[in-house]
């Protein structure tokens, strides 16, 4: 099994994908730190930074612009060399506003959109807008060429397609024929939409209310001048995702559900011809041995060393329960290995404490950047 360093060789973008609560943010930060310590200039783009972790990296004021982690802080932890670690927090709304400002013909057109209530809803709530804005920012920073590697911590989603489809969905929404309909409900587009359009519109207006209808229409009118700019941009953002410089690392946990999701993510990434680089499985319970004895026998053996049968039984019971979960993890990972054929799978053990500082990230990196043998040895002693 290769290490994360080998996986990321010659890549400029690493997208960490996965469902919520699997440790994506920590993994992204650890990859960023590890690659920086190997001499690269790295920027980690995150959605929701863990406050304690950000604080410990001296990044109290993380915003929509990249901030550098103090090299002095890194060298305190024996991380030296030419590498640099930067981080930024993605703000979907701010990115969207900036995008509108970029494509608007003039200040008036810009404000018409920014002030529109429908726009304010979309920029927050439209499915995929957060995902798209993450990519948009990634694209912007990548095109500036300031960094060797960008690590993107994606918004949690059930479906990796939410992410992959985001540019398409956004442009479809903005440029769609629906738009034509609202702008010129009696024109050519209405005739294409089928007979009885007038009747349908009046039925719809009746259900919905004229007011909301008028607002939507106004929004699309305000947006019409920006369509080409948006479409062109989304197209370029989309092709960056599929570029050979970009790769996806799927992050998951060892339980059945997260593993199923990882398998699904993998198949969708392949279908969409994206570069799948590997899976990081966090919080894996490694087995301490091959087979744990039965409760009675184990209790006796521990008791013979402790001379405290009550404590011996608690210790034995604890190991048996731990081992049952370790067996489950091993089974799930075996299933993952089968489904992914030869793709790299990196197991990071369930550590005794939460990771919230540089030392914690460095601890994780002993696994992420180690060989499979090193990982097993570290985890099981």
């Amino acid at each position: 099994m290769p290490s994360i360093e080998q996986i990321l060789e010659d890549r400029e973008i690493c997208i960490c994908a996965g469902s919520g609560g699997v440790g994506k943010t920590t993994t992204s930060a650890a990859i960023g730190l590890g690659m920086a310590s190997r001499g690269l200039k790295v920027c980690v783009l995150t959605i929701d930074p863990a406050k304690r972790l950000a604080d410990s990296l001296g990044l109290e004021e993380l915003g929509n612009e990249a901030t550098r982690v103090d090299p002095g802080l890194l060298s305190e932890h024996q991380i030296n060399g030419d590498g640099e670690l930067w981080a930024m927090m993605l703000d979907a709304k701010e990115t969207f506003d900036a995008l509108v400002a970029r494509h608007a013909e003039d200040a008036e057109a810009r404000d018409r959109v920014l002030d529109n209530r429908i726009y304010q809803q979309i920029s927050n709530a439209l499915a995929g807008s957060q995902e798209y804005m993450a990519m948009e920012k990634l694209f912007e920073i990548h095109s500036e060429g300031r960094f060797d590697l960008l690590v993107l911590d994606t918004p949690p989603s059930r479906n990796v397609l939410d992410f992959l489809d985001a540019p398409k969905r956004l442009t479809q929404f903005i440029e769609g024929r629906s738009l034509q309909m609202f702008i010129r409900p009696t024109g050519f587009a209405a005739r294409v939409a089928g007979r009885g359009t007038g009747v349908v519109l009046s039925v719809l207006k009746k259900i919905v209310g004229f007011d909301l209808f008028a607002d939507l229409s106004e929004f699309f009118n305000a947006f019409s001048g920006m369509i080409d700019g948006f479409r062109d941009r989304a197209h370029r953002v989309s092709s960056l995702l599929g570029d050979e410089k970009t790769c996806f690392v799927v992050v998951c946990g060892p339980q059945g559900e997260p593993v199923d999701e990882a398998v699904y993510f993998h198949s969708k990434l392949m279908e969409n011809e994206m570069n799948f680089a590997g899976v990081v499985v966090n919080r894996v319970r490694y087995r301490f041995g091959t087979k744990v004895p039965k409760l009675r026998e184990l209790t006796d053996r521990i008791d013979s060393e402790l001379d405290d049968s009550d404590l011996a039984e608690r210790i034995a019971r604890n190991l048996i329960e731990y081992d049952a979960l370790a067996v489950r993890d091993a089974k799930n990972i075996a299933r993952l290995t089968d489904s992914l054929e030869d793709e790299p799978i990196i197991r990071v053990p369930y550590l005794d404490t939460d990771v919230h500082d540089i030392d914690g990230l460095a601890e994780i990196n002993r696994y992420l950047f180690g060989t499979e043998e090193e990982r097993s040895r570290l985890a099981t002693g």
Binding site: Q121, S157, S178, A193, V200, V203, L204, G253, I315, T353
Partner: protein
């Protein structure tokens, strides 16, 4: 089992929220099981568009139809498209008009072009389920509706939808519907919420933030914070020295026992630290649920948790 119905299960509508991966769906089901055991007629709703795939729902093949999971315990998965169709059905009594609308592409365009419409019709369906006089023909009556709501981020915008729509559509039917839903969400007598958390840093932070957003911005009562998956504290500090001695034993199984016990007690300490932070950070009453030592958290596990709820 803790006998008697926990206070928060006496409401009519409960939204269960929390960060992704905290066990929200399992807790929602456990709440449902418990309320049903206490004699309430319950339905648990999954919001199909949310990012949490619930295994229990999947295994029971729950769809837009109300399905019975156990005695007095029902389940439904609310798909926004179905909810939209049902909404139109209630609005347009004339079948020909409905057919005309459904056949027309304009309707599809409109549905796609209106941000938040999916969320609105989903909450509309939840409202319909809470009604004792159901709009759905031969609809069952429920005493308690439990919603497995979308995880944080999306959860907040989900619950905000009625107010946003009430503002966007200043007059007309959508405005009136949205106002009605807004009233339902903010009615602290009947409606409340439960935030599920884990004894880890990020979920604890998220819980505190969520509580202030729900109670403050949204105006939804937070009845309970549930600290999920707490490890049993098996090894008091006095055991530490004995356990450490085992780590250098010649017997590999004994060594493994020592290491596992040591890890366990460190994790308990880390959990307690986070639990203490939570107590300082939230104002709603906190209940706890134990970590379930089972390979998969299934309906059996949910039953055990149901008994532990207090």
């Amino acid at each position: 089992m803790n006998w008697g119905i926990p206070d928060f299960l006496k409401k009519r509508l409960l939204f269960v929220t929390g960060k992704g991966g905290v066990g929200k769906s399992t807790v929602a089901i456990a709440m449902g099981i418990r309320a049903a055991l206490e004699g309430r007629r319950v339905i648990v709703c999954e919001v199909a568009s949310s990012e949490n795939a619930s295994r229990i729902f999947h295994q029971a093949a729950v769809g837009f139809k109300e399905v019975e999971l156990a005695n007095d315990l029902w389940a439904i998965s609310i798909d926004p498209e179905d909810a939209m169709k049902e909404y139109v059905l209630f609005q347009l009594k004339v079948k020909a008009m409905r057919d005309l609308l459904f056949r027309s592409r304009i309707f599809t365009y409109f549905a796609a072009a209106t941000p938040g419409l999916n969320e609105l019709v989903t909450i509309g369906k939840i409202w319909e389920l809470t009604q004792l006089d159901r709009k759905v023909k031969h609809g069952r009556k429920y005493d308690l509706v439990i919603v497995d709501a979308p995880a944080t981020g999306h959860g907040i915008s989900f619950l905000q939808t009625p107010r946003t729509f009430a503002n966007i559509a200043r007059v007309g039917p959508v405005h009136n519907q949205a106002m009605q839903l807004e009233t339902m969400v903010t009615d602290a007598e009947q409606t409340g919420s439960v935030i599920v958390s884990l004894p880890e840093e990020m979920p604890v932070n998220e819980t505190a933030r969520l509580e202030s957003e729900l109670a403050g911005d949204i105006g939804l009562a937070v009845d309970r914070v549930i600290m999920n998956a707490l490890y049993p504290d098996r090894f008091p500090a006095g055991d530490r020295r004995a356990i450490k001695r085992l780590v250098s034993s010649d017997d590999p199984d004994v060594r493994a026992g020592g290491r596992a016990a040591l890890s366990q007690s460190r994790r308990v300490a880390a959990q307690n630290e986070q639990f203490d932070r939570l107590k300082d950070m939230v104002s709603a009453p906190i209940s706890t649920l134990p970590f379930i030592f089972r390979p998969e958290v299934d309906l059996h596990a949910a039953r055990r948790l149901a008994e532990e709820l207090e």
